[in-house]
């Protein structure tokens, strides 16, 4: 009689964990509980659960939830080593911050996502900051708001404001200087065109400058410490349009010509205002700050108006 010995597979916990890890490697998208059960049918539920918990606590396994149930995924070795030594809550917070990418996330949002009390969050954030895993970046939109993001990430443009902001301050003088330089360039081009005394069509066409030309001119001038893109120059040129000094037309351009975007090119030229300052503003009344309070016989009236008296003696 042969003795049928049912070979008992080793139920060593470490073996179970290793087996689970191998399964995870086989299925990089994650494995369900069902898969583990199928692979190791002899392992009891309790032992399986213990193994999974151990892996989770060590940080080698990620617990995810999808529509069918729970998924286990092998965690990246590097990130696993980073948070080694932190406890679960810190790991949770770290994960939330990581997910926010380079836009950063606000403390209140971290609280919502992790359901942890505020004091805990603050402690954890301080901890992570001291370990140099995350950093706080001040947002330019609301100066009191701080967003957290991973230490080595560059903050996104919307947070720092882009080329016009340096250290959360809007660089007004820089914008003004650029404004004037662009205007001078366009104006001199228009003057040159006017003096050339050619036929009017040619004159008008030569007084135009594409946004690409203006961009090149500004770059060559070298007044900007920061690299400016063509979109930045276009925003500056738009402010000149709103100043009434410049007008813009769009023409269709062949794809591939320098400076064309989506088959179009924007052309700018300097213009003169169509009327002189109007009559009303040549009188003190047109600019008077107390215009609405002025009545004959009142405290402020045309008869005793000091602005008028000064203006008449001019």
């Amino acid at each position: 009689m042969t003795e049928v010995k049912v070979k008992k597979e080793s139920t060593d916990p470490v073996d179970i964990e290793n087996r689970i890890k191998e399964l995870c490697l086989q299925f990089p998208h994650g494995i369900t509980d069902q898969v583990i059960q199928n692979d190791m049918p002899h392992v009891e539920v309790q032992q399986r659960a213990m193994a999974i918990n151990r892996l989770l606590s060590v940080g080698q396994l990620d617990l995810l939830k999808n529509s069918n149930g729970l998924l286990y995924r092998l965690k990246d070795a590097q990130s696993a080593s980073k948070v080694k030594g932190s406890d679960n809550q810190e790991k949770l917070v770290y994960q939330i911050i990581e997910d926010a990418g380079n836009k950063g996330i606000w403390t209140r949002d971290i609280r919502y996502k992790s359901n942890l009390p505020l004091t805990e969050i603050n402690k954890i954030l301080k901890n992570l900051e001291s370990k140099k895993l995350i950093k706080a970046v001040k947002s330019v939109a609301a100066s009191k708001k701080k967003v957290y993001m991973l230490y080595n990430l560059q903050p996104d443009r919307s947070v720092t404001g882009g080329a016009w902001y340096s250290d959360q301050d809007f660089e007004s003088e820089f914008v003004e200087v650029l404004n004037q330089q662009c205007f001078k360039f366009l104006q001199s081009k228009a003057e040159a065109a006017r003096d050339s005394k050619q036929s009017p069509m040619v004159q008008r066409n030569s007084s135009f400058a594409t946004s690409h030309e203006v961009w090149k001119y500004i770059c060559e001038l070298g007044i900007s410490k920061v690299d400016l893109s063509m979109e930045d120059i276009e925003t500056i040129l738009n402010t000149l349009i709103f100043d009434g000094k410049v007008e813009m037309t769009i023409i269709a351009a062949k794809e591939g010509t320098v400076g064309s975007v989506d088959g179009q090119m924007k052309l700018y030229r300097g213009v003169n205002p169509i009327i002189q300052p109007t009559g009303l503003v040549k009188i003190p009344c047109g600019l008077c700050p107390v215009f609405d309070d002025c009545h004959e016989g009142g405290e402020i009236s045309p008869s005793n108006c000091v602005y008028m008296a000064e203006w008449l003696d001019f």
């Binding site: 404004n179 009017p200 205002p273 009327i275 009188i283 045309p302 008028m308």
Partner: protein, 534 residues
């Protein structure tokens, strides 16, 4: 009638016609329409004074009468036409235009007619000729025919027009006006333009033929002749304000084109406007379509542009973002029109922008223009587009909002207008803002006039003294006094007083000229608002 307009009308009536007319006029403006009896009762003036004031106002075309509420059988009701009173501000500009177009003769003709309200052609011609002869050196005299030709030219270009005829001209007693005349006279007004062409030619020719004969007879003499010899009784002429306004509008468009583009383009636009002067109806949005061939032929000789160059200029005008000129067809080398309403809107917009710029600074002007272009913007978007720091942008927007130049539009996300869940958009509406600015202009002119009256009143004593001294000087000179006596009299005015007089003169001149400047703004805004109402 807004309060500012009423105030300004009152000041103008007082300056030109005196206190009684001012009282009657302002009361009638405020009440709308009144009968003669009611007017006399409410102003507590004697009836004949009220009648005379109404006479004066009607003579100048500022008061009109019509059948009352009780029909033709009831008493006649009178009402004031406020625009005509406000046109008094513009009289200097009309006279200056007539001078620049038709010389001194034209200037005097228009001045006389403006002063009297309505005049017959013969009396105008006589008065003007006498005035001109008076100013000429001895031995020369003004030929009546020249004055007549200037007059007919003014009528040909529609600057003067006939007044609607009335059965009893000049009378304002309630009995005489009680007849069903008023209805008939309204119909006659429409026939006037046709009659201008026909009648004036006959009149003109008749005048010329009869006066040529008479002028030869009394070539170098200034004798007085009776009005009744003329034979044009009852045909009165008045100034056609609308025509002058069209002329001013054309001038504004031409100067805008020359500022924006260049001299040649403005000449082309001037030619186009000149060609369509008499054919375009008064409130049209576009002039008559003109073909490029016609424009080429009508260009002034001195310009000497080649045909293809003209085509290029026209294309440039059409492609300009301001859209002064539009192309409506391709026949005859291209049909072109001048966009009148568009041009007026652009000019009004430039006026608004200039006011904001001068009053609040160029950054606020940038925000204002930005809102005009982009219609509705949020606070954040305004900051981004205008490249203004957030705090300053907020400050400027709130200032503009408090002055009512900018409006706030709320768009709620939830049915309760909770502030955190509502969009707040800033916007600028050009038309209401133009109206607001127009009222400001009226108030400003009122202030200027009041200041002028105040200055005159303050220095009344000094002015009277200087007038007396001038009178003494004149009489002494007439009687042939010696130089010593003259200097003695002149020294009666001390040096500081002289200086004071000079500065007073300077002030009054400045106030006068600034009234004209504000009137230019008033004209642009008024034309724009009127153009949007048709």
């Amino acid at each position: 009638m807004t309060a500012q307009e009423v105030r300004l009308c009152g000041l103008l009536l007082q300056e030109h016609f005196g206190d009684v007319v001012e009282k009657v006029g302002t009361h009638l403006i405020r009440s709308g329409v009144l009968t003669l009896r009611a007017l006399a009762h409410e102003t507590k003036l004697p009836l004949d004074l009220v009648k005379k004031s109404l006479c004066v106002l009607m003579q100048h075309g500022m008061c009109a009468f019509g059948a009352g509420r009780r029909g033709p059988a009831g008493p006649v009701e009178y009402h004031i036409i406020c625009e005509h009173i406000l046109h008094m501000l513009r009289y200097p500009r009309y006279i200056y235009t007539a001078k620049s177009l038709y010389g001194d003769t034209g200037e005097l003709i228009v001045e006389e007619i403006l002063q009297r309200g309505q005049m017959t052609m013969s009396s105008t011609v006589k008065t003007v000729a006498d005035r001109l002869t008076h100013n000429m050196p001895e031995g020369q005299s003004m030929d009546y025919s020249e004055v007549v030709s200037a007059f007919s030219r003014l009528v040909e270009t529609h600057f003067l027009q006939r007044c609607p005829p009335m059965a009893s001209a000049g009378s304002s007693s309630s009995e005489a006006v009680n007849t069903p005349l008023p209805v008939w006279s309204t119909r006659m007004v429409y026939i006037v333009p046709v009659k201008i062409e026909l009648m004036h030619k006959c009149q003109g020719k008749r005048r010329r033929s009869s006066e040529d004969g008479e002028a030869e007879q009394r070539a170098a003499k200034k004798t007085k002749t009776d009005n009744s010899e003329r034979g044009d009784e009852g045909i009165y002429w008045q100034v056609n304000f609308q025509r002058f306004h069209l002329h001013f509008r054309d001038q504004a468009i031409i100067s805008a084109v020359s500022c924006k583009l260049d001299q040649t383009s403005s000449e082309i636009v001037r030619t186009m406007l000149r060609m369509s002067e008499v054919t375009t109806p008064a409130h049209a949005a576009f002039t008559q379509a003109l073909s490029a061939n016609e424009i080429f032929r009508a260009l002034p000789f001195s310009y000497n542009i080649a045909r293809p160059i003209l085509d290029q200029y026209l294309t440039l005008l059409v492609n300009d973002p301001m859209e002064f000129v539009g192309r409506t067809g391709d026949s005859g080398g291209g049909m072109y029109v001048v966009n009148l309403h568009r041009a007026l809107a652009n000019l009004a917009r430039a006026t608004l922008e200039s006011v904001v710029q001068e009053r609040f600074g160029s950054r606020s002007a940038r925000i204002f223009r930005l809102l005009l272009r982009k219609r509705h913007l949020e606070q954040k978007q305004v900051e981004d587009f205008a490249m203004v720091p957030a705090k300053e942008a907020k400050d400027m927007l709130y200032t503009l909002l408090s002055e009512n130049l900018v409006q706030l539009q709320e768009i709620p996300k939830t049915p309760d207008y909770a502030p955190s869940r509502t969009f707040y958009l800033y916007t600028v509406n050009q038309l209401p803002t133009a109206r607001l600015l127009l009222q400001h202009c009226y108030k400003t002119v009122g202030n200027l006039i009041e200041r002028r009256l105040y200055e005159t009143k303050e220095n009344k004593r000094l002015l009277e003294k200087s007038q007396q001294i001038e009178a003494i000087l004149a009489s002494l000179q007439a009687t042939g006094a010696e130089a010593a006596q003259l200097t003695e009299v002149e020294e009666m005015i001390t040096a500081p007083e002289r200086q004071q007089l000079e500065s007073l003169q300077h002030h009054i001149n400045k106030l006068d000229s600034s009234e004209n400047q504000v009137d230019e703004t008033i004209f642009l805004l008024e034309s724009y608002i009127n153009s949007t109402q048709r």
